[in-house]
């Protein structure tokens, strides 16, 4: 199980943390990997803190318990930095990727965190520019596979195309693809 990658998504209801985790699971499977994607289910409502999870492995995944020590944490909303336990269970070589206007060093100070690696990207700004709506999940997928290249960017884009090929205007699909590409380029480290 040592080669299994575990990811935790923090977001607020409506930001697409669930969709992102399910989409990532499908993208990983398309690459021939085994994967799981699942959200926390509670009294869901717009704006409430929620979490999504992924497991990705070269071997079949048998675990069906919660994820306690993810290697990567993706934060879709920087107001959660002070309210949710973002760094919970994160190992010493863990990674945090935050959607924010702030720099990684500012996030580190807010979290009071030592070690680990922190990355930031203005995914909401990118989403507004490219998709016309402040939904940061697609660009955060681009940032994620840049920071931790366990999947090629193309496979995430292919999955997005599949997702948005029915019932959406072509501009929405094109906007999402541009947003993923931009976040891939713009995500910054410390």
């Amino acid at each position: 199980m040592a080669d299994m990658l575990e990811i935790r998504w923090h977001g607020r209801g409506g930001q697409g943390a669930k969709t992102a985790s399910l989409l990532l699971a499908e993208a990983a499977a398309m690459e021939g990997k085994y994967s799981q994607g699942f959200p926390d289910y509670g009294p869901e409502r717009m704006g409430a803190p929620m979490r999504g999870f992924n497991r990705i492995s070269e071997e079949p995944i048998r675990l069906h318990c919660a994820i306690y020590s993810p290697k990567i944490v993706v934060v879709l909303d920087d107001t959660l930095i002070s309210t949710a336990d973002i760094a919970s269970g994160l190992p010493d070589d863990g990674i945090i990727i935050v959607n924010t206007l702030k720099k990684p060093a500012e996030i580190r100070a807010e979290l009071g965190l030592e070690g680990r690696m922190i990355y930031t990207v203005n995914a909401t700004g990118i989403a507004i520019d490219e998709i016309g709506r402040p939904i940061p999940n697609s660009p955060m997928l681009g940032a994620l596979v840049k920071v931790s290249p366990f999947l090629p960017l193309e496979s995430v884009i292919e999955q997005i195309k599949k997702k948005f090929s029915h019932g959406f205007r072509p501009e929405v699909l094109e906007g999402n693809v541009r947003a993923i590409n931009r976040a891939y380029e713009e995500v910054t480290s410390e």
Binding site: M1, L22, A25, E26, A29, M30, Y34, S35, Q36, G37, F38, P39, Y41, P60, I61, R62, L63, H64, C65, A66, Y68
Partner: protein, 393 residues
């Protein structure tokens, strides 16, 4: 040729239903089952299946409509969870008593109250004596495989009983994971056509369905029903073997995972078994002789497989995800004790209650259970001693 899919447990059940394309599907939504029927309704709306979908006003009506359609000779499916199953309970019992081979995925969820939408097994354990066959599924793959097998088991002329295919609410129903599905032509060849023995609509050979059956014959009819359930054991095994030849995934009454030489064995059902297998492998690598006995069929109960699976065990933990209030131990624990009664077994058996209302069970929890088993081996454990996993003081 297998088709590799990435689906939630609910969508895996719906995919099997798409390939089965039953004559009639009756439906009332309840979390966490709703997405299953949502997906199947899409197949109906898109013309991918020919099934007659009957939308009703309650689960009681969903099972009533299923009983009516099955009596008319149709292949019928429905699905439910938790309080929905509780509401349909009266007709659930009638479906089995009338020997109607209805297949119903049940997404395991805690019964209210207080209100809880997450997984435990109190819903299906509550109707373990309704006369339905019960197959528990570990993951989305098994959900898909069990639904396809359930049709063949239910409709076998030696059985003619309805089947529940259960899987854990949210943990499996709402987790997207990778599975292999059959090609449509293989799945449809496997399912075959259904010709009911009796039909309400066959006026050439009129038959009576669900009549008054008093002191004169009721008892004999129940005896026949007991026989049908007893016959199910051999049918579940032969269907599981045949499915293995078709898919590469054979099934039995249980899955005895590394139990052959095991000193310490955990018995469980559902998604917990996957997590337990990981712990078994970790502890085996450390030189500990541990194993998992996964109950796939709870009704009929797999006595022979349990006796065989526990042959070398010094101590056994039985994990129950539902309560039998006032009884010594949970439903699974009692059945295990009964299965071993009279076999000369001296194994120490400990009952653990866990996971009520969706409380997580982790690899650490299961490892602790195995470690506790090492300390109880050789000791006599009172039948009413229940230990708790993951419960706050």
């Amino acid at each position: 040729m297998a088709r590799r899919l990435t689906l939630s447990g609910n969508d895996a059940a719906a995919e099997a239903m798409r390939q089965i394309d039953p004559d009639v599907v009756t439906c009332f939504p309840i979390t966490p089952q709703t997405e299953l029927m949502h997906k199947f309704a899409e197949f109906v709306a898109d013309g991918e299946v020919k099934a007659e979908m009957v939308l009703v006003e309650s689960e009681h009506s969903a099972m009533s409509a299923a009983v009516g359609a099955a009596s008319a000779g149709a292949r019928v499916m429905t699905a439910t969870a938790a309080n929905g199953l509780a509401l349909m309970w009266e007709i659930v019992y009638i479906a089995a008593s009338n020997r109607l081979p209805i297949v119903m995925p049940v997404v395991n969820r805690a019964l209210s109250g207080p209100i809880n939408i997450h997984c435990d097994h109190s819903d299906t354990m509550g109707c373990r004596d309704t006369g339905w066959i019960q197959l528990y599924s570990e993951n989305a793959q098994e959900v898909y495989d069990n639904v396809l097998q359930a049709i063949r088991i239910a409709e076998n002329p030696d059985v003619l009983l309805p089947v529940m295919v259960t899987f854990d609410g949210f943990i499996i129903s709402h987790t997207v994971e990778v599975l292999d599905a059959l090609e449509d032509k293989d799945a449809r060849g496997w399912i075959g056509d259904y010709k009911s023995t009796y039909s309400l609509l066959n006026t050439d050979e009129p038959a009576t369905f669900g009549p008054l059956d008093l002191q004169d014959y009721y008892f004999e009819h129940k005896r026949q029903q007991i026989e049908g359930m007893n016959n199910a054991t051999a049918v579940i095994k032969s269907v599981g073997e045949a499915y293995g030849k078709l898919s590469g995934r054979a099934y039995g009454m249980t899955e005895n995972y590394k139990t052959d030489d095991a000193d310490y064995v955990v018995i469980a059902l559902g998604s917990t078994c996957g997590t337990a297998k990981v712990v078994v492998d970790e502890m085996r690598a450390e030189g500990k002789r541990v194993g998992l006995l996964k109950l796939r069929s709870f009704r009929p109960f797999p006595h022979a497989e349990i006796v065989a699976g526990l042959a070398s065990a010094k101590a056994v933990a039985v994990l129950d995800r539902s309560v039998s209030f006032g009884a010594p131990g949970g439903p699974v624990h009692k059945e295990i004790l009964a299965a071993l009664n009279g076999t000369g077994h001296t194994t120490s058996i400990v009952n653990y209650l866990y996971g009520l209302g969706g409380r997580d069970i982790s690899t650490t929890h299961i490892r602790t259970v195995f470690e506790e088993l090492e300390t109880v081996a050789g000791k006599s454990i009172p039948a009413d001693e229940v230990r708790f996993i993951g419960l706050r003081g």
